[in-house]
């Protein structure tokens, strides 16, 4: 009958559907849990990303005070007299000097921002009693601040966090030096986050606190378009005028790849959840095959049946999607700390730690969850709709349909994986292209799993079958027979395990590469550095003393600083060393005689990340802002470096001193003479350094290695957390699939109990089946994990950060994943096994 159903009967159809959901809370709950977890993962990562990005933007805005342009100096800063001439000689009244530095209060790192309150008023055009800084309206009297030196101002929120009240004295730890200040006032910020973590002081107080008298870091300006060029021409050599908007955008882009990587991880969780949803909806269709068959026999059309199932899934998705959003926001508040921590470690110190909720992230996660649920429900819905009424009534039709399609799924999966591999070979691919190609491989892999599961089960039976007891054979064959569910469960678990292997091997390989690099790059046995690179220097008398001491075999002198380039600010390291600046093992590519040409030709070496991101190679050139104006340096080689993804320049110390009026030395490294006991030597050198402990800190090579690896591990905390969350989603998927299988076999279990099988034997049988599924998932996850690790190392990492990572077979990761697979499946099987064991045979058989 093809006549359309009447409105009344359609509403009854939906009532029957609602009745099913209500009467099967377990299935409904499991499907909902999968959706909720997936939505939560996406929302949490997106909310954390958005919050950290907003914090990044606010931090940048608050340190540029909303200016349109900034004048920046070199490593030595800007002479404050230039600011005076700018205002008095040139008449740029909309300008304000800024000095900034890091301070620690009660163990928390804050940014000290020194400004001229009167200039800020002029710059931002506000009344003297209401000073605007970024989004924060500061209501203080500038005169009062000036009179109460040394005094600082905090936002009410920051003051509350630190437990400070107005007029109260407190200590600032500035690179080890403790200085006492008075909290002159607190202010209420319009946007609390913008002012969070900032300590405001007037210029002279800040200069005194930071020990940088007569020097400022930058000058903030509000310029009209026609004022830019004349000012640029006026600027003395060594200073540059930049557009703050462009600069902020460039800085924001630095961390974009990191955010993309986190988003990709959350999308993997969504894919695992999609398998869970397909599985639950398939089960709900199978469970209702009788009623669906009756509906078809009564004249319900295919499209009505498909619509019924899809709407039903969407209703569950909406309800649980909302719960997922709420959970995601809560989880995001935890994740944002890790994300901000990693950004601070890798890119830029974030002083804003507040959780800034972006409602678009919630909407995105909700819509993605709903879309995934809808698409996932289409397959089983279409399956139910396309079957003849008589076929819907038969359970075996569904399974035989799956068995028939397995070779095609295998073929299609293999084609998708091959397409993904081909795409990855594309030389000029983008980061998102890399993710899409990896996505194709992952989806292809998932499609292959049911067929591979069948093959493996057959292989196990062929090899070990005769040694198995009948109940074990029953368990093994049960997997193959219910491949429509077991295949999906194994696919979900295998995917999660392959993520564990892939990410684990990538992190392990990266860690090993960094360890190897540290061994190669840490020249010397003791490393001494200043506590503040901007203000302090290793005393010249100490350097002389050590250089001529019999206790020191070799001394390497280093100046680390930040220089402006055509690509924005970059880190520069100027080295004076009796040995080559870079060991041969760390050279990727170089010009001939690069070592001598570093000095003779005034060239630089650049790090691999800089070369990758800016498409630079040996023979190219790079323009740096020196103290005597812009100067182009030739690139003599590229070296491996893992200190920052932003890039690093290496220069000979003499060349640096020639172009920059900067005599500071920020670090030295010492080598001990041969045949001297390391422990004694360290002790003796440390004794000589004790008088300088206020400005200097020192570590052995081993200490640097430990600190570096601790920082490395902290950077990957967020990745490890997401990896665990993917496993949790997979656990829910496999529990759901197993529960579905076990619920379906209730009659069979009742029969076995009636025949005399004991609860323990039944439990053992169920756990054998689930354990075997875990084993197969773990086996299949290994090759996929290796492929994923390879793509993450060679494509995603490369395109995101530009680092070369040596593939390292982290066997412990494989073993962990293997154990995790079997353990997860066994844990997931516990409840179904317990349920099967508690089954009353009479109840189970009553269906008969």
């Amino acid at each position: 009958m093809t006549m359309p159903m009447s409105l009344k009967s359609v509403s009854l159809l939906h009532r029957s559907s609602w009745g099913y959901l209500r009467r099967h809370p377990w299935q409904t709950g499991l499907m909902g849990l999968g959706i909720a977890l997936a939505v939560a993962m996406v929302v949490a990562v997106d909310v954390a990303n958005a919050s950290a990005r907003r914090a990044f933007a606010l931090t940048l805005e608050s340190v540029t005070a909303g200016a349109s342009h900034q004048i920046l100096g070199g490593p030595s800063g800007i002479d404050e007299r230039i600011y005076t001439s700018l205002r008095t000689d040139l008449g740029f009244r909309s300008s304000a000097p800024v000095i900034r530095g890091r301070v620690r209060v009660q163990g928390r790192t804050l940014i000290l921002l020194g400004t001229d309150p009167f200039s800020e008023v002029a710059l931002n055009g506000v009344q003297p009693d209401s000073l605007a800084l970024a989004d924060a309206k500061v209501r203080i009297n500038p005169i009062r601040v000036l009179l109460q030196q040394p005094s600082v101002v905090l936002s009410q929120q920051t003051a509350q966090q630190l437990g400070l009240k107005s007029s109260e004295s407190f200590n600032l730890d500035i690179d080890g030096a403790i200085k006492s200040v008075v909290l002159a006032a607190t202010f209420e910020a319009d946007n609390a986050a913008a002012a969070e973590g900032l300590v405001f002081a007037d210029m002279s107080t800040a200069q005194w606190l930071l020990g940088r008298f007569g020097v400022i870091d930058s000058i903030d300006l509000h310029l009209q378009n026609d004022e830019v060029e004349p000012l640029r021409e006026w600027l003395p050599a060594g200073l540059t005028l930049i557009d703050t908007g462009n600069r902020q955008q460039r800085l924001m882009q630095m961390s974009a790849a990191f955010h993309h990587n986190l988003t990709a991880m959350s999308l993997l969780a969504l894919l695992v959840a999609a398998l869970l949803i397909v599985n639950t909806v398939t089960f709900s269709v199978l469970k209702r095959r009788t009623s669906l068959g009756i509906l078809r026999s009564l004249g319900v059309t295919r499209s009505e049946l498909i619509r019924l199932i899809c709407i039903e899934t969407l209703i569950v998705a909406v309800v649980f999607g909302v719960l997922g959003c709420a959970f995601g926001v809560a989880l995001g508040q935890v994740l944002v700390r890790f994300v901000s921590g990693t950004i601070s470690d890798l890119y830029f110190h974030l002083h804003v730690t507040a959780f800034l909720l972006d409602y678009r992230s919630i909407a995105k996660g909700f819509v993605l969850g709903l879309g995934t649920a809808f698409i996932s429900s289409l397959v089983p819905a279409w399956e139910a709709g396309k079957s003849l009424p008589v076929q819907v009534l038969q359970r075996s039709v569904v399974e035989s349909g799956w068995h028939r399609r397995l070779p095609w799924m295998l073929l299609f999966g293999a084609v998708l994986a091959a397409l993904g591999s081909a795409w990855l070979q594309w030389p000029s691919g983008s980061l998102w292209g890399g993710f899409a190609a990896l996505g194709l491989q992952v989806v292809g892999f998932c499609l292959c799993i049911p067929a591979l599961l069948m093959l493996l089960v057959k292989l196990i039976m062929a090899v070990f079958g005769y040694g198995f007891g009948i109940s074990t054979r029953m368990a093994v064959r049960g997997i193959a027979r219910g491949v429509s569910r077991s295949g999906l469960a194994v696919a979900a678990l295998a995917l999660a395990l392959s993520v564990t292997v892939g990410v684990g091997v990538m992190i392990g390989s990266f860690r090993q590469t960094v360890i190897h690099w540290l061994e190669q790059s840490l020249q010397g046995d003791m490393h001494i550095s200043v506590r503040n690179r901007n203000t302090q220097s290793v005393p010249a008398d100490l350097i002389d003393d050590l250089r001529h001491s019999a206790e020191v075999f070799q001394l390497r002198q280093i100046r680390r600083t930040l220089v402006e380039t055509q690509f924005g600010p970059l880190r520069l390291m100027a080295v004076a060393s009796p040995t080559p600046l870079v060991t041969p093992e760390l050279i990727m590519a170089s010009e001939a005689n690069w070592q001598t040409r570093l000095q003779e030709d005034e060239g630089v070496m650049i790090s691999e990340t800089l070369a990758y991101h800016r498409s630079l190679s040996s023979g190219d050139s790079i323009t740096l802002l020196t103290d005597v104006g812009e100067k182009t340096f030739s690139v003599l080689g590229v070296f491996y470096d893992y200190t920052s993804s932003r890039g690093l320049l290496l220069m000979d110390d003499q060349v640096y001193r020639q172009w920059w009026r900067d005599q500071r030395v920020t670090a030295i490294s010492l080598s001990r003479p041969p045949n001297v006991s390391a422990e004694l030597w360290h002790q003796r050198v440390a004794e000589r350094l004790v008088p300088y402990s206020e400005t200097l800190q020192w570590h052995s090579s081993e200490g640097i290695r430990t600190l570096s690896l601790a920082l490395f591990d902290r950077t990957f905390t967020i990745t490890q957390a997401l990896r665990l969350l993917v496993i949790v989603v997979a656990m829910v998927a496999i529990i759901s699939a197993l529960l579905a299988l076990q619920l379906e076999r209730q009659q069979q279990y009742a029969l076995l109990r009636a025949m005399g099988m004991k609860p323990g034997q039944l439990m053992a049988m169920v756990l054998t089946e689930t354990g075997l599924m875990g084993l197969v998932a773990a086996l299949l996850a290994m090759p996929m994990g290796v492929v994923m690790a390879d793509v993450l190392i060679d494509v995603i990492n490369r395109r995101s950060f530009g680092w070369s990572i040596q593939f390292y077979w982290a066997w412990e990761t494989f073993l962990q994943a293997f154990a995790l697979g079997i353990l997860s499946a066994l844990v997931a099987g516990l409840y179904p096994a317990w349920r099967a064991a508690r089954l009353q045979p009479a109840n189970g058989l009553r269906e008969q």
Partner: protein
């Protein structure tokens, strides 16, 4: 207690007997509770064949479940060889089913993931029969039911009649003292049903067991030595009416 390893009953062993005393069983909750067995008494012993007749929903299958120890009465006693079943733990009741009971279901209930051979052998394996002994006894049973060439087939590759033969073989392979059959020929045509009944009687009598069959079929009832009807929760013996 005998085990599956015992090939034949010992002459010194007392004959297997089962007794139901004032048995009560009801279903549902609160006011909508429906009593199906209402003070039922019954006694039978090895060597007998008993047919149970009754309307649908009269409690016949419930009675079989209580005899097999897979369900518990609300009141009254089930005694096997004079021993109260209610005093047994779940594990002891499972042991009782495993060793002394064979169950034949109307819809066969074979395990779909096991071959015909394995379906029969499973019961022996549960009774700790292993290796050559397991193979020999299963093969003999397959031979007895005339399906020695179908041992490797899965249930869905067998006809209804073949499946029921396998179900009978599975119920008898461990030589139980009590064989319970719930509509054993209900899903078979007349000819197949007749031959299945003959097979069942022959095997049970060889093993000197007690056979209790639930049926709607007069032909099946006529094949039994004793015929009982279950009405309003009580059993009534029909003597002469079904005798020939």
């Amino acid at each position: 207690m005998t085990t599956a390893e015992d090939p034949q009953p010992s002459n010194t062993e007392p004959a297997f007997q089962i007794e139901l005393r004032r048995l009560e069983k009801s279903y549902g909750q609160g006011r909508v509770r429906r009593s199906v067995l209402n003070g039922l008494d019954f006694q039978a012993q090895a060597g007998q064949t008993v047919a149970l007749l009754g309307r649908s929903g009269s409690g016949k299958s419930t009675l079989l479940n209580l005899l097999a120890g897979i369900d518990q009465p609300d009141a009254g006693e089930v005694l096997v060889n004079g021993r109260h079943q209610s005093h047994l733990t779940d594990s002891e009741r499972t042991d009782f089913r495993r060793r002394q009971v064979g169950f034949i279901y109307q819809s066969f209930l074979l395990i779909p993931t096991l071959t015909a051979f394995e379906n029969i052998a499973l019961v022996l394996e549960l009774n700790d029969v292993r290796g050559g002994e397991l193979k020999r006894r299963t093969a003999t049973m397959l031979d007895d039911i005339g399906l020695s060439d179908r041992g490797g087939s899965y249930p869905d590759q067998l006809s209804g009649g073949e499946q029921q033969r396998i179900a009978i073989a599975r119920a008898l392979v461990h030589r139980p003292k009590l064989v319970l059959a719930d509509e054993p020929t209900g899903n078979l045509d007349e000819d197949s049903g007749r031959s299945m009944l003959a097979l069942m009687h022959s095997l049970v009598s060889q093993q000197h067991g007690l056979l209790v069959m639930v049926t709607h079929s007069l032909a099946v009832a006529r094949s039994a030595e004793r015929v009982l009807t279950l009405e309003q929760g009580k059993l009534f013996e029909r003597e002469g009416e079904f005798a020939w």
